[in-house]
Symmetry: C2
């Protein structure tokens, strides 16, 4: 009601209600042992002053320093995979009254270190990490100090921690084999920055699938270090200019597949060059032809990640868990185009 500056504290409420601070605390926390009449008087003062509980102060006083916060450091909150993951984590966290501090790493190692430091400083109760660094030894002191970390999408290196990842090698084998089985022999492979483990594994699967058939992949058709859809588009554009261009494309990430589709489309090759993408995304089924993909079940991954973290928060002391989710091949059309020659 009144024109206050700043927030009312328990002290203010106590003064208005004519009781001690402790009694206000009891009322606010719904503790027993307060006379009904007093409780009402306090409640009235709370309402009149728009008192709001101060969680940070409360947490500071209450043991352990639990903040009711968890951090989620993902590749890019604006990207559909990270966004879906974040959403999934949020739903799991909400049930526990835990809030999520999210941030995007953009594959920048330095940012990961900075942000982790920031989150520690904020005393998050736990951390979900899709790392951009190639080693995470720097986390060991935090883990030792009791902050559980669950890695998602990429496995930890240099530190023992829980992880939820996808069987990338196998998925890539599946996708590549799908193309090989249709007779493709000049298959392009597009992958991410080479120090990202998923990129390595998917490339590995690509090679493995060839090897299993006794086929040698053409190195000139393998392009690594691609960041973002524009890079994927440019790379495919270059490949199509070769003397013997690829008849199929295996794209190691959803944004690279999107770039590839753009490049093909621009040359009118959308229906003649096959393409299989790793990671499904919204609308992939509405493209022409619909995109054949290796799907990772994001919702499931998010839930498993959250469950793991929640278990740790609740005191689970088992050795680090390593959960690996099987991806599935979703046949839609783009991957079933036969080789053009």
């Amino acid at each position: 009601m009144t024109e206050r500056v700043g927030r009312a504290t328990m002290r203010d409420v106590a003064a208005l209600a004519g009781v001690s601070i402790k009694t206000v605390s009891r009322v606010v926390n719904d503790e027993p042992g307060v006379a009904e009449q007093v409780r009402m008087r306090v409640q009235d003062a709370v309402d009149r002053l728009d008192y709001r509980h101060h969680l940070a102060a409360s947490n500071l006083r209450r043991g352990g320093g639990r903040s009711g916060l968890i951090g989620a450091l993902l590749q890019d909150v604006g990207n559909s995979f990270s966004a879906a993951l974040l959403r999934s984590l949020e739903d799991a966290a909400r049930a526990r009254g835990t809030a999520i501090l999210s941030a995007s790493l953009d594959e920048e190692p330095e940012r990961e270190r900075t942000l982790v430091h920031d989150l520690v400083t904020r005393r998050v109760d736990g951390l979900v990490l899709m790392p951009s660094t190639d080693r995470q030894d720097y986390l060991s002191s935090e883990v030792r100090a009791g902050m559980p970390v669950v890695f998602v999408d990429r496995e930890p290196r240099g530190i023992a921690a829980d992880s939820v990842t996808v069987e990338n090698v196998e998925g890539a084998v599946m996708g590549t084999e799908h193309l090989l089985a249709q007779g493709h022999r000049r298959i392009a492979c597009l992958t991410d920055l080479p120090d990202i483990s998923t990129a390595q594994q998917r490339l590995q699967g690509f090679v493995d699938a060839h090897r299993a058939r006794g086929v040698h992949p053409d190195e000139r058709l393998t392009v690594t270090g691609l960041r973002g859809p524009a890079a994927g588009e440019a790379a495919v554009s270059r490949l199509l200019d070769l003397d013997r261009p690829p008849t199929a494309i295996f794209a190691g990430r959803n944004d690279l597949a999107q770039g590839a589709v753009r490049a093909l489309r621009r040359r009118g090759l959308g229906d003649s060059v096959a393409i299989v993408g790793f990671d499904d995304f919204p609308l992939a089924d509405l493209l022409t032809p619909p995109l054949t993909v290796i799907r990772q079940d994001v919702v499931r991954i998010g839930r498993l990640t959250a469950d793991l973290l929640v278990a740790r928060l609740d005191g689970d002391e088992r050795p680090p868990q390593r959960i690996v989710v099987e991806p599935t091949l979703v046949v839609r059309g783009s991957g079933e185009i036969p080789p053009s020659d």
Copy 2:
């Protein structure tokens, strides 16, 4: 190094370094007036104990109760519009060392109230809100207590606050007029829950455009209260079963446009029924035909929102600002299909 339980505090560091807590504080905060030798000794103890600054305690002591946090309550963090917005906010916040607490409202009013309460309890310095309630009077005590709120995408009701919105009526007029100009007279209109202001405005624009041409929109082709792509798909499916089905569709939201495209595609009508969507989304240009949309510049909206909030955090006391961004028509093909009869 040692197997600690819990975190080291300044007290521990002080004990190890043989100085007072206050001196540790000085070193940690890089304050002047500490002898070089002492500083080194303290720094050494900090490293040995893996001491980490406790931001919440620090903020508690340092007046004002600034938490270095802002809240972002969006419609659905997993949806491309909200996700892009969140990302944009994040980039602006990072520059100030502010972290973002994000959550999804899913158009549920109750969740908005709960989450706002939770954020207040966490003493966020400011709030970005894409409301799911139809009135936000309940926020006035928080605003009075000094928490700046910036509304995004939807204007505030029942409270004076900053907002960054899109010229929805005009955008919808633009999109509808585009269809009318090509001779369409049976245009379906799909919109969101009717108590969401953007949905109302877009429907308004749809009607206005008709009126401007002296045409009467067919009420049976207007479907409101649609939530999510599946609802959009079902609605379009029903409309196509009518005696005189629509020759064009105006979809009031990106997910409804996606649902509409699915419905059309399933019946093989993708190339014969025109469609214009409100709000662009990734891959809209890769659909067949590419989707004509009314685009709202999400990045710009995010930046304007963040700028506004940041200004308030820095003490800006101007009367509430109302920023309205002009949407643009992006012609791609789906909206230029002529009427079938």
